[in-house]
C-alpha cells in the first residue's frame, strides 16, 4: 500500500514534469531524487513510531502535491532547455560561418555574380542581432547567472531571436548559393561550397527544432 502510494506520487510527478520539453534523463533524475527523499521521510516517520501507511501518508503530505512540486521544477527545466539550445547555436555558428566565409571569398575572387553584397548586408544584420543574443542567453542561463540582472525568460527571448536569426541566415545563404549552384559547386574547390550547404542544412534543422523548443520553454517561464 505504502509503496504503491509512493510509486503513484512519483508517476504523477513525472507526468507533471513532462510539460517541459526537457530530456527524459533530466526528469528521471528529479523523480529519482524525490523518491530518495520520500524514502528518507518515510523512514523518519517509522522511527518516530508511526505505522507504515501512516508514515507514507505523512511523508507525501510533507512533500506536497506532485503537481505543486513539479511546478517548482518547471522553470528550472525550462531554463536548462534555453541554455542547451543557446549553446547549440553558439557552438555551430563559428563553423557554419567560417565555411560560408571561405566559400564566399573564393566565389568573389572568381567573379561569380551570386549577389554577395546583398547577402553580405543581410548576413551582417543577422550576425549583429544573433551573436549578442546567443551569448546573453548562454550566460544568463548558465552557472554565472546569479551575477546578471536578466531573468531566464529574457534569456529565452534572446535565444528565440538568435534561433530566428540562424534560420534566416542559413536560408539566405542557401538561396544565394542555389541561384548560382552550378558554377560554384563545379569549381575546383566546389566541395567546400557543398560542405557549407550541408552545414547550413544541418544547422537549419537544429535551429528550427530549437526554435520550437524555445517557444515552449518561454511559455513556461511566464
Amino acid at each position: 500500500m505504502g509503496d504503491e502510494l509512493i510509486q503513484r506520487y512519483l508517476s504523477d510527478l513525472d507526468a507533471a514534469l513532462a510539460v517541459v520539453p526537457a530530456s527524459a534523463r533530466s526528469r528521471a533524475a528529479i523523480v529519482a531524487e524525490i523518491g530518495d527523499g520520500l524514502a528518507d521521510a518515510v523512514a523518519d516517520h517509522l522511527d518516530r513510531g508511526h505505522l507504515p501507511d501512516q508514515a507514507t501518508g505523512r511523508a507525501i503530505e510533507e512533500f506536497g502535491a506532485a503537481t505543486v512540486l513539479a511546478a517548482q521544477f518547471v522553470p528550472i527545466l525550462a531554463t536548462a532547455q534555453v541554455h542547451r539550445w543557446a549553446l547549440v547555436l553558439l557552438r555551430t555558428g563559428p563553423l557554419v560561418g567560417a565555411l560560408w566565409l571561405v566559400t564566399g571569398l573564393l566565389a568573389v575572387s572568381r567573379g561569380l555574380p551570386i549577389g554577395w553584397p546583398v547577402v553580405g548586408i543581410l548576413i551582417g544584420v543577422v550576425l549583429v542581432v544573433s551573436v549578442p543574443c546567443t551569448v546573453v542567453a548562454v550566460v544568463v542561463t548558465g552557472r554565472g547567472s546569479h551575477r546578471w540582472p536578466l531573468r531566464p525568460r529574457q534569456a529565452a527571448d534572446a535565444a528565440r531571436l538568435a534561433a530566428g536569426g540562424a534560420i534566416l541566415g542559413d536560408l539566405v545563404l542557401l538561396i544565394a548559393l542555389s541561384i548560382q549552384a552550378s558554377p560554384v559547386l563545379t569549381a575546383p574547390d566546389g566541395g567546400l561550397a557543398g560542405a557549407a550547404m550541408l552545414a547550413s542544412l544541418i544547422r537549419l534543422t537544429l535551429a528550427t527544432r530549437g526554435a520550437t523548443r524555445l517557444r515552449r520553454a518561454r511559455a513556461l517561464l511566464g
Partner: protein, 117 residues
Amino acid sequence: MRAETLKGHLDALLLAVLADGPRHGYGVIEALRTRTDGMFDLPKGTIYPALHRLEQAGLVHASWTDTTGRRRRVYELTPAGQRRLGAERTAWHEFATAVAALLAPPGTDAGPAWATS
C-alpha cells in the same frame, strides 16, 4: 515558521547548511530543522527545487553517489557559492544590526542612540 517568512532568505540558509560539508537533499532539510531547533521545518517540496536552482546558478555542485548501495544526489558548495555565502552573511549582519537598533527598547544597548538622547 511559515515558508513565506523565509522567502528571500532560503538560498542563504541552504548555502549556510552546505558550508558544513556535502549533504543530500533530505540531509539539508534535516540540518535546517535541527540547527534551528525545529523553527525552520520547511515544506520539503520547496527545498529540492531550491537546491536545483542553486546548482543551475553555479553556487552548488551536485553529484550522484552510491556509497551505501543507494544512489543519492549530494550537494556541495562551489567556490562561487562560498563567496555568495560570505556576501549573504555580511548583508544579513548589517540588516540584523539595523533592525535590532530600531526595534530594541530605548535605553538598551541595542537601542538607537537617538532614543536615549
